[in-house]
Symmetry: C2
Subunit: 138 residues, 2 copies
DNA sequence: CCCGCATATGAGAACCGTTGTCGAACGAGG
DNA sequence: CCTCGTTCGACAACGGTTCTCATATGCGGG
């Protein structure tokens, strides 16, 4: 049986006030900062439980860190600046349809997908960030 | 300057004999088993270098482990079975164009993207893998 | 309203993939 | 060959995540 505890409620509440993706560690820090301290293990358990219940969406960074966010009803993706990290939410219904259709054509069901777009934003280019051909910032 | 050493050659060679995605640790174990021992750090460095040179493709599992495989020259994405890990390469020129155009509309340059599609393949469904709404296999 | 007990918590350790360190080995151009 | 900068590799360190286990606490039944 699943219990509704102070801690679980607190973790869920954090995501109500937050846009975008956040790590378990960040949630833990925010709770601690708010004086509503919750153990780190508990935060991990809570975000995992929420993700399993479909209340949170999760992605993994290149560094292998898991990030979560409130699952918005509208599905969208992220356009991320490699240099300053600024994020723009973009929606692409065509991409969704393409992904679902492609998967079904190969006999796959329960289809989901992850899509992230990376680039250098106008401001960072203007600021003279020299970027190599591989997008590596020296 | 980049040197061609026994170790780098050995790592690259491993991927010639292998289909699909494999972890650095697995490569290390295979080399060791073949008697052609290479240090673990070296394997990590080698796969990273190969990935940067575009010779290997990399993805990250849900568990945060990095997997690599020989990359075909054509840009493509992966359709991965959540249950058995089988991968299918899929190409979607429309998606590429959409991603580039969307990024440019927001003033981003040097655009790249990552896209992975997950689902349950026909065989795994037939094998009776009961899959929850979130794709969690019990 | 209270009990019993299964479930949840939390501090810390363990875990595991990955990355850093540094002296030794080695490849390539001279 | 020789020299020198690159690479190797054993090992330690790191960071995110998961496990452990004693303790605390919802919650349904009495």
């Amino acid at each position: 049986m699943v219990r509704t505890t102070r801690q679980r409620t607190a973790v869920a509440a954090i995501f109500d006030d937050l846009e975008g993706f956040h790590s378990a560690q960040e949630v833990h820090a925010r709770l601690r900062a708010a004086g509503d301290s919750v153990g780190l293990s508990t935060v991990y358990r809570a975000v995992q439980a929420l993700a399993e219940d479909g209340e949170l969406d999760s992605i993994r960074t290149d560094a292998g860190e898991a990030l979560y966010r409130r699952c918005s009803t509208r599905h969208h993706h992220h356009l991320v600046c490699r240099s300053c990290g600024r994020t723009v939410e973009v929606a692409g219904p065509a991409v969704e349809r393409w992904a679902d259709r492609t998967a079904e054509e190969h006999g796959f069901a329960d289809v989901s997908h992850t899509l992230e777009i990376f680039g250098t934003c106008a401001e960072c280019r203007a600021a003279g960030a020299t970027v190599g051909p591989d997008g590596i910032v020296p």
